[in-house]
Amino acid sequence: MIKLILAILFLPTLLFSQGVDFEKFKGTPIKATFVKEISDERMFIYVDNGYDEAKNDTELIILKEKLNITQETFSPIYRYSYTEGITKVSILKYKVLTSSKTEKIFTDLFIKASGKWELVSDVKIKSKNVFYEVLNKIPLRFYKELRSSSNNPTQKEINTFKNLIRDSITNIIDIKKLAKVLEENKAILSKYLDE
């Protein structure tokens, strides 16, 4: 009986001391710069015929159903998806043919929580998502220009800040820097951006 009590007392002590032991190995903080690529990111471009992955994107149908738009008037352009922590996020850009036969472009934010995609309508949540903030502004041609390693001579304004937002070694685009550049250069870049 005494042995049993001792064992019960000893076991939690062991577990506790082990946890404390690892706590002291958190490490020394070191100031560092490192733009890490986003986990599980994908860009589905629906308007390029050769893009097989977009053709097989089964989640587009699920997201479209959340929009309450008829199939005939809906025309997807691109969808950016990524994982933030454990939450899946999607930003969908699409065209809608209005009753007056004009095309209107929309960008919507979706979050997959508890296994289900939900359309985010809360403006505050949307404005906190830097990817939504950026992709809401940039059309497909602008995105392609950012990704292009060569400079397009007809889009000088974009070329001038490309190097500011792209890592010179990895070519990774710092999304927060891009958001800042778009905000600070609204007037110069307005002709390239979505309204």
Partner: protein, 226 residues
């Protein structure tokens, strides 16, 4: 041995090049690490962890070291696979032969947070009664649990750095000191700007000239030379 080592390097590099080529069709967005801070830890000399958990439920996985202990402790496939963020193969021999003589000697660890996730890279030796094998694990914390992951992109480069460089070299990189090998020390100077480490530069740094065998003995993980 050197030929084998070079082959390993080439093999890994080829894999990374192929991977980057594949990744080029990906968006390529990224975010700066949280607080622009990494945490570097040097474990005490001969710091060992053993497989002495009795069940997966016994620990809370607050620390990445606990997942490594769980791997050592796993008594069956169902337990073992819970430690990984990818599908591992069933290895009944490992669970049958599991004994207390096998342990991990922890050497150094890098931790940082990015886009809502915590990452940890741990360098260690796998000690068995018959051998000592240098190793490295990359772990991510999500769903309140540290999992071992298959590193891709920049994480695979950090893995290479921790796997193939000696502890002396890693300490010098993260403490901004020198190791007495001029070519390597020059590299360290280039990865710091006004006292701030560029981890991107560090994992992409190449020596300006070829190092001698004697220099490589200091720079590279010594157990790869045995």
């Amino acid at each position: 041995m050197k030929i084998i080592l070079i082959s390993v390097f080439l093999f890994v590099l080829n894999n990374i090049i192929a991977q980057n080529k594949y990744l080029s069709s990906y968006p390529g967005f990224g975010v700066e690490i949280k607080d622009k801070t990494v945490y570097y830890n040097k474990y005490p000399k001969d710091y060992r962890i053993y497989g002495n958990y009795n069940s997966f439920e016994e620990f809370n996985s607050i620390y990445p070291e606990q997942t490594l202990k769980s791997i050592l402790s796993a008594k069956n496939f169902n337990w073992d696979k819970k430690n990984y963020d990818y599908l591992i193969e069933n290895n009944p021999i490992k669970y049958e032969t599991s004994n207390k003589e096998v342990y991990f000697e922890l050497l150094s660890k890098l931790t940082f947070n990015s886009n809502g996730l915590s990452y940890s890279i741990i360098k260690y030796y796998v000690n068995t009664p018959k051998s000592v094998i240098p190793s490295c694990s990359v772990l991510v914390r999500k769903n309140k649990m540290w999992y071992v992951i298959n590193p891709t992109g920049s994480l695979s480069k950090i893995f290479l750095m921790f796997n193939y460089l000696s502890v002396i070299s890693l300490n010098a990189i993260f403490e901004n000191t020198s190791i007495g090998v001029d070519k390597f020390d020059q590299q360290i100077k280039h990865i710091y700007l006004e006292g701030i480490l560029s981890l991107t530069k560090a994992i992409n740094s190449i020596s300006s000239s070829k190092m001698t065998d004697e220099e490589l003995k200091i720079v590279l993980e010594p157990l790869f030379n045995n």
